[in-house]
């Protein structure tokens, strides 16, 4: 009884996914057929190949992959270092600065993009990977998340290492990073998906197809001569594969991360 209701709700909820895939696999003539066709007569797998080569969508995919991975990597390194300073070193002004870090989480991206755009112009970074990556690679969210985790690591561990003459950098790399793998994984997950889905900044800083990311590419299927719906849906399906896979593979991590109130990143 209780399951019957939620199964129906889930099926209604999943309909857009079904519609996306079913339209990605049909001939153009079937897209606005009346009454609507739910399962295409012949599955046109070729749409995926055509969409990949069309804009070139394949390049957008690789751009997104490169930008998201690089931002994630920088974020992990920078945040680990800062989180260590905030959780394990004692210095004047630490707690005040941490409040500033927290405050920056409230700043909407829309406030930053105009000056950032002008800055990119000065630096010559408009329509470059630099412009896509560097301004997005510093977020206090990562520092904050890792600091919370580092605080739970017992002090005895690093005390022993310090006695043995290890440097703080060595302690961070050999003790904290391995212990914080779940938190680092979660931060990587949220940073990567946040960048993979990012739209506003790429829309502003990218000028042409060379550096366009995937979400940007999707909107390019809306052309002058009308929308290429089947290609667009094929592109959307491709764009959603990583998110789909990460959600299914890492749902335990995500659930636990959110349970400790840490799971909000990206956008």
């Amino acid at each position: 009884m209780i399951h019957g209701g939620i199964v129906v709700a889930a099926m209604v909820f999943l309909f857009p996914f079904f519609w996306m895939v079913s339209n990605a696999l049909r001939r153009d003539a079937e897209i606005f057929a009346h009454p609507p066709i739910f399962v295409p007569e012949t599955l046109v797998w070729k749409n995926f190949v055509d969409a990949w080569l069309y804009l070139p969508f394949g390049r957008f995919f690789l751009n997104s992959l490169f930008v998201s991975a690089t931002v994630t990597l920088i974020t992990l390194v920078v945040s680990s270092l800062a989180a260590y300073a905030f959780s394990r070193l004692r210095w004047v002004g630490r707690d005040s600065l941490f409040v500033v870090y927290l405050g920056t989480l409230m700043v909407p991206q829309a406030v930053l993009v105009i000056p950032l755009f002008l800055m990119m112009g000065v630096l010559g970074w408009i329509d470059t990977y630099w412009g896509l990556i560097i301004p997005m690679a510093f977020s206090s969210f990562g520092t904050f998340l890792l600091r919370q985790f580092f605080l739970t690591i017992p002090a005895e561990l690093e005390e022993a290492a310090l006695m043995d003459g290890a440097s703080h950098l060595r302690i961070l790399v050999t003790i904290f990073v391995p212990l914080a793998k779940p938190a680092l994984g979660l931060l990587a997950l949220f940073t990567f998906t946040g960048q993979w889905n990012a739209f506003l900044w790429p829309l502003i800083v990218v000028n042409g197809p060379d550096h366009a990311t995937l979400p940007l590419g999707l909107t390019l299927f809306q052309g002058q001569q009308g929308t290429q719906w089947s290609y667009m849906m094929a592109g959307a399906t491709i764009a959603m594969v990583p998110g789909f896979a990460l959600t299914v593979l890492m749902h335990r991590y995500i659930f636990k991360g959110i349970a400790i109130g840490a799971g909000f990143g990206g956008r």
């Binding site: 409230m106 991206q109 105009i114 510093f138 956008r267």
Partner: protein, 321 residues
Amino acid sequence: MSVDYAAMRHDTAAAPLASRRVRPGSTDRKPSVRGSFGLAVLFLLPSLLGLTIFLIGPLVASLVLSFTNWQVIGTTRFVGFTNYVNLLTIDPIFWKILRTTLLYTAEYLVLNIVLSLTIAVWISRLAWGKTIFRIIFFLPTFMPLVGVALVWLLILTPGGVFDWMMAGIGLKIPNLVTNADYALQAVVLVSLWSHFGYNMLLFGAALESVPQSYLDAAAIDGATAWQQFWRIKLPLISPSLFFGTVLTAINSLQTFDQVYALTHGGPGSATTTLGYAIYSQGFVTYKLGYASAIAWVLFAIIMMLTALQLHLQKKWVHYEI
């Protein structure tokens, strides 16, 4: 952008404990504590430089820009509060945009919290299949919002499957994306579908941590499931509820991606939110000074709303477990 209030709360809760531990006269002998200022600077440097250059700097710059008439062509000069005065008194659609944004946020926030809480409670009561249903409702949250919106555009577009279904069940409503009165509802629908999964998981995790013994005790005392929800579960998950509400409000005030992909702010200016107005003033007509002023109005609203919520939480959020 994200804020973690739940963890902030842990912090403040832990502070008195930590200070109590250090008794007067006793020396804190943690070796790590001896870390010097110079060392901290080295560890902090990349983060601090990055945040200063790409966040604090632009934040200040944007405030300065909002007092200029900066455009791509022409000379730039300071114009004082002219942009703000124009916004509030001359701009023919600013108030409408503000109203749209606040209406959207209010409607979306209420629907999001009610829906995510309902589904979370529903799933938490299932005997089996919790994980699979949680995954299903969470699926769209890790997907490009633009992609999600374009899929919905295909569904909602005139002649699309949504109109056909509505006609099929005898509901006579205008097309959602082309009708000025309904277009905002299309944006709400898409936002809900794509993002209520976050809060559903957040509330689900909180519900899992409600001790079963409390519920058993209440059941013995004759409390109905309904009473157990309102009297026990809801107060116990109120910190998560608060966290989700604040975060959802901050995010929905900035709504841009789905508006861009679904309606481009239209028809007319029916779905133009502050986020979309900043983009179109800034990067379509290149009135960067004016757009910066709108951006600061948005930021001010976010700050005020967050402060208000932090203030109101004392009335309804229970932290003692």
